[in-house]
């Protein structure tokens, strides 16, 4: 299978005064269509930079980032912007911006502005997505600016999903919902990705936020340690293991 997203020996540095700070050092990873990956790391470990490079928001200093075989470095800024508004969706708690007086439905529908849909069609699609994230017709008419943290998170997810992306990139999901809603939000992310066959790339300081991903990695000192290293089989010590039932919920 061809990878949907492929990073090869990607490096990125910043300059802090006269010092060069290496944020990513020859990082490689692959994400197949429909597969979820979680990157665990502490603050300033380079995980947000990794996500921004994967989504085409920033470009790597060296190495290649390919989405569906296309090298992002060879695309114009406009083409990368269209990719980010179409096949790739990027979610981050800092990105919440609601216009005063705007309803939730309008807020989600305006994300479809570049899709060539009429406003009526856009609203119909937006409503379907809002229902998927647990906000029905009643929630759609609420004022976006007055939403709780948990409500905002669902609307941000609906806005990202409305464009039917092939890859959803989520930076720090643990910061998005209220604490009591975290497990529900993580479950919602997983089910939305599964139902749509969408690939998911998340990064968090909380390992629990990455539960249920197919591939888990950690990042420190610009270096990625992944449970899936292509060509390498990692085996757990072989013992006769028991397994079976799960508790009823």
């Amino acid at each position: 299978m061809t990878s949907l997203l492929s990073l090869r020996n990607v490096s990125k540095s910043y300059h802090d005064g006269g010092r060069e700070i290496v944020v990513l050092d020859a990082v490689s990873l692959d994400i197949d269509p429909g597969v979820s990956m979680g990157v665990y790391g502490n603050r300033r470990s380079g995980k947000s930079t990794l996500l921004r490079l994967a989504a085409g928001i920033e470009l790597a200093d060296t190495g290649s980032v390919r989405f569906d075989g296309r090298d992002l470095a060879t695309m114009s800024a406009g083409e990368r912007g269209r990719l980010l508004r179409g096949e790739i969706a990027f979610m981050s708690a800092q990105d919440w911006r609601a216009t005063p007086g705007e309803t939730v439905l309008d807020h989600v529908a305006t994300a479809l502005g570049s899709e060539g849909l009429t406003m009526r069609e856009a609203k119909r699609r937006a409503l379907g997505t809002l229902e998927q994230v647990g906000l029905g017709a009643a929630g759609a008419e609420e004022m976006a600016a007055g939403l709780s943290l948990a409500g905002r998170t669902r609307v941000m997810l609906a806005r990202a999903l409305a464009r039917e992306p092939r890859l959803l990139v989520v930076d720090e999901p643990a910061l998005m919902p209220g604490i009591g809603d975290r497990d529900r939000f993580y479950a919602l992310l997983r089910s939305a990705a599964q139902q749509r066959g969408m690939a998911l790339l998340m990064a968090s300081e909380e390992m629990a936020a990455l539960q249920g991903v197919a591939v888990l990695a950690s990042i420190a000192d610009g270096e990625l340690c992944s449970t899936e290293e292509r060509g390498t089989v990692v085996r757990l010590p072989g013992r006769r293991r028991a397994g079976g039932e799960r508790a009823e919920r």
Binding site: Y40, G41, N42, S45, D183, R184, Y186, A187, L188, R190, E206, M207, A208, L210, Q211, G212, V213, A214, V215, L216, A217, S218, A220, D221, E223, C225, S226, T227, V234, L236, P237, R239, R240, R241, A242, G243, G244, E245, R246, A247, E248, R249
Partner: protein, 195 residues
């Protein structure tokens, strides 16, 4: 408060106590044969515990010796001509479980092998230590990947207990991964500055 005399807490000695305690709790929920109890234990604790069926049989025998379980040869379900050993709780089991819940046990040591290596590593061993640390980090990530994700809100007592058990696993593995990452980073920094 139950009687915590030395005799009553004797079964709580040794590194297998957590598994013995959990088995006792499962027996009190309903009796079962060794394989059934091993499966229930693995489901309850999660993959990270790597519950070994042979260990479960051994622990059940220990519980029986201390009078906290009793086994009986009973016909197999679906094949009445064949029998298997089914373990039941005894009159002392419920009180023993309560006593275990009340007892604060010392924390068990972790990552023994790596600590031992680090404690005597020579500077020329740094690359080997880094490899061992990365392998350990990857193993912790693999274990975290095996944990069943939460479905959201826990609506029953067993589901709540399982969610909290999973949280404990994540918290523990996160700490271990952090330690491995930090140690790799510190060794890198040291080796960089001593060049």
């Amino acid at each position: 408060m139950v009687n915590g005399s030395a005799e009553n807490t004797k079964w709580m000695r040794g590194p297998s106590t957590p598994l013995r305690g959990a088995l006792l709790g499962l027996l009190l929920e309903r009796p079962g044969h060794g394989g059934d109890l091993a499966n229930r234990l693995a489901a309850r604790l999660g993959e990270t515990w790597r519950v070994d069926t042979n260990d479960v049989y051994r622990l059940l025998e220990q519980l029986e010796k201390t009078g906290l379980a009793v086994s009986r040869d009973e016909p197999k379900r679906g094949n009445h001509r064949r029998t298997h050993l089914v373990y039941h709780p005894t009159d002392a089991s419920a009180e023993a479980l309560t006593l275990w819940m009340e007892t604060l046990l010392p924390r068990e040591p972790v990552r023994l092998a790596l600590q031992a290596k680090l404690s005597v590593a020579r500077q020329q061993d740094a690359p080997l230590v880094q490899i061992a640390l990365k392998a350990y980090e990857r193993e912790c990530l693999l274990l975290a990947q095996l944990v069943h994700p939460s479905d959201g809100e826990a609506r029953s007592w067993p589901a709540l207990c399982m969610d909290c058990t999973r949280d404990a696993v994540y918290a523990q593995l996160q700490t271990e991964v952090n330690w491995a990452m930090r140690t790799r980073q510190r060794i890198n920094e040291f080796m960089g500055s001593s060049r």
